[in-house]
Symmetry: C2
Subunit: 259 residues, 2 copies
């Protein structure tokens, strides 16, 4: 199962990606968590200490390794670059392992004015497509904020998008844009997760604004998430109520895919 988590900036994508990763791993499933945002912070949300996180080799550095295997020349990634089947074993060799989760980081900050992240996105798109998952394996991709990854088609091969929203029109606008483009990309399912709910009226607002998208879970507003971020701790270890809520939505996703 391949899932991409998307939405407006700050709605809670990375928190949700970290909690789903830990919950699946706790069940003994093999999890590949992908941080697709160059302003990467999934490592921190998973609870990886900063000194270790800084040493993780980003996917963008894999170009050289992949060149060894495929013969593709650097600079040709956008057009004639191909990943051969042996890319399937790359995550184990490259990613950072933590409690049954393999974390892949797309890229870190580069030099100022050194260019866009298009090559990294092309590489990631092909990697996500070529990763073959068994039934007990889960790939969770924490997308960059906003919609550019959709115009780039980075996550076009996932089974579902989860779009996180919060009470407010701005994140709903992003959700609608995600849904439109997901359909055009051929991604069949877009789930909505309602986050930062302060009461039933917030949930009503979201239900009234998601159109025909399916609400798969709702998470209460929780200052514990901010506390975890202040301490650099994993929300998984620090916010038990939110963990329970995410477990419920995970079970609903399971029922959808394996009824």
């Amino acid at each position: 199962m391949k899932i991409a988590i998307t939405g407006k900036g700050g709605v809670g994508k990375t928190t949700l990606a970290s909690l789903l990763s830990h919950l699946y791993a706790a069940e003994g499933r093999r999890v590949i968590a992908v941080d697709a945002d160059p302003d990467a912070n999934l490592a921190s949300a998973l609870g990886i200490p900063r000194d270790k996180a800084e040493k993780i080799r980003p996917i963008s550095d894999m170009a050289e390794l992949i060149e060894e295997r495929t013969g593709a020349k650097p600079g040709t990634m956008g057009s004639i670059f191909r990943l051969n089947p042996r890319v399937d074993d790359l995550p184990e060799g490259i990613g950072y392992r933590l409690d049954g989760i393999t974390l892949l980081i797309m890229g870190k900050s580069k030099a100022a004015a050194s260019g866009c992240y298009c090559p990294e996105n092309v590489l990631l798109r092909r990697l996500i497509r070529h990763l073959i998952v068994e039934r007990d394996e889960v790939i969770i991709v924490d997308m960059e904020a906003g919609i550019e990854h959709l115009t780039r088609g980075t996550a076009e091969s996932v089974d579902a998008f989860i779009v996180v929203v919060e009470p407010g029109q701005r994140s709903m606008q992003t959700a609608k844009a995600v849904r439109e483009m997901a359909r055009d990309l051929g991604v069949k399912k877009v789930f909505v997760v309602a986050n930062k709910l302060r009461g039933p009226e917030d949930l009503d607002f979201i239900k009234n604004n998601i159109g025909d998208m399916e609400l798969i879970g709702s998470l209460k507003f929780n200052h514990g998430i901010m506390e975890a971020d202040i301490r650099g701790s994993a929300p998984f270890d620090y916010s038990p109520e939110t963990v329970d809520e995410v477990r419920d939505l995970k079970n609903r996703i399971e029922k959808y895919f394996y009824p």
Copy 2:
């Protein structure tokens, strides 16, 4: 004065950009507010009704007009494209006017998998550089979340970055990346605005983590901002406490530039 507002997704960039724009305009200054995020929502935060916001022509559509004036061919923007001096009058002709603010929108969502926003960013970079501001004019650019705009150099010609942070290590990491790259871009000043403060310990956390960046203002956690977003209203009309706090930080910015 040209200011770019930046930071991790969801920290409050758009809210701050809208409040600064309204405050400067209320003083009778000419304000050009630029929404540089393709997942645009500055129009909503400024209080422009959705039906009108949807009709605003984005900067990305200006390519044709600029071609008329410069002879630059579409598709050549990244390399030999030039804006001639007459670009200075474009905002008045193209932007949406509201209460003394001219709003420019970089781009709207394009078709899925239609490509990146690199051409739009190149166009915007040149536009920001070529806009000549008088002392009483203010350009406020609401950047996209994260750091890709810095590797693209979109806002390289601004006088200052304001990086918005919230209590938490993740937004501090983004702030540090912004500061590093701002220096490399030649942007001399990076101000920090601390947002979503729940008490003095949150402010202490931020002060202890910003290194040598200058804290220019702090904004208390305010559910009224979320309420404004739910109603599609401008925080300027809906959150008087936050407006007062932003007025204070605006005055401090003024003192820095015109001591």
